[in-house]
């Protein structure tokens, strides 16, 4: 659907909510390690897709386990959030935002601000 601006969009095409693919994550706000909450397994799939949880699994549990806490901390680090390891409101709000489908962490190594270090190494070698 392409429109020059919003006023030209037929109202029937404009959903009046921000219900997107990840809307169910709202319910996870406040969750922390040690809890078991329905819906956490879907968040684990999301974090795996974007590189924060390494090993793929078809049946993630709803347990807020150590692996999830570590993934949430990595996510918070990448997005300049407090690294609480908990699903606090700022973290959930960021997760809900529309985004690019490319992973933030690829092969478990390149984080979102590793470029400078890589280019410095390259630069040093060039010298």
């Amino acid at each position: 659907h392409f429109f020059p601006n919003v006023s030209s969009i037929p109202p029937s095409l404009l959903p009046n909510t921000t219900a997107g693919a990840w809307d169910s994550f709202h319910k996870l706000s406040g969750c922390h390690s040690g809890q078991t909450v329905p819906g956490i397994s879907k968040l684990k799939t999301y974090l795996h897709y974007f590189g924060y949880i390494g090993n793929a699994s078809k049946n993630y549990t709803d347990d807020f386990d150590d692996g999830l806490e570590s993934a949430v901390k990595n996510y918070q680090l990448n997005f300049n959030l407090n690294t609480t390891g908990e699903l606090d409101e700022p973290t959930v709000n960021q997760i809900l935002k529309p985004r690019c489908g490319v992973a933030d962490i690829i092969n478990g190594s390149s984080t979102m601000n590793s470029g400078k270090a890589a280019s410095m190494v390259g630069h040093t070698v060039a010298h």
Partner: protein
């Protein structure tokens, strides 16, 4: 800024890249113009040039709009959520979610919770086509998330530093003087 593992980039013999649109999408000239603008954002800062081609099969960079499962294992998910994705050099594929409501001119009148600015997403994905990964710098075009109603099309300093590690600066302009670094334009509603 960050790179894909192994820092893939287009080789020094490939500075003049071509791009084409999937003919099945039958895109209007207005939509194509948005991508032309988006490519210019990167050619301003690098020795790269981008030329539209009508031959989809032979173009270096292929752009298409698809919904749901479109055969590359990276399914789209309907309104919002994942908006688009692109592949590292030299694969040259850029896919956008056809289920989104794309605004091609004036996102500022938005106020809509689901209208996305097409040029902002195009500029970001072209960064991936050229070899950039995501950035933690929120002002950067390569920051992974963008809210509806937000337009972010000019490269920030972080984007320019990253792309110039891969390709160097635009020989026609001094890298310290050139287009202004971008900022984020948001609608009043936000």
């Amino acid at each position: 800024y960050s790179f894909f593992p192994g820092m893939p980039r287009w080789s020094s013999r490939r500075r003049d890249l071509t791009y084409a649109f999937d003919p099945r999408n039958q895109l209007s000239d207005d939509v194509k113009r948005v991508f032309g603008n988006a490519f210019t954002r990167w050619s301003e800062w690098t020795p790269l040039t981008f030329t539209e081609s009508s031959n989809y099969d032979t173009a270096d960079l292929k752009i298409g709009f698809y919904g749901g499962n479109h055969g590359d294992g990276e399914d789209f998910d309907g309104v919002l959520g994942t908006l688009a994705h692109a592949f590292a050099p030299p694969r040259g594929l850029l896919h956008l979610d056809s289920d989104e409501t794309w605004i091609i001119d004036d996102v500022f009148a938005s106020g809509s919770p689901s209208a996305m600015d097409l040029e902002s997403v195009a500029v970001h994905e072209i960064g991936h086509l050229l070899g950039l990964g995501h950035s933690s710098i929120e002002e950067a075009v390569m920051f992974p998330t963008i809210s509806s109603g937000v337009r972010k099309v000019e490269l920030a300093r972080d984007d320019v530093e990253g792309i110039q590690v891969l390709y160097g600066s635009n020989p026609d302009s001094n890298s310290t003087v050139g287009p202004t670094f971008g900022g984020r334009e948001t609608s009043g509603a936000h």
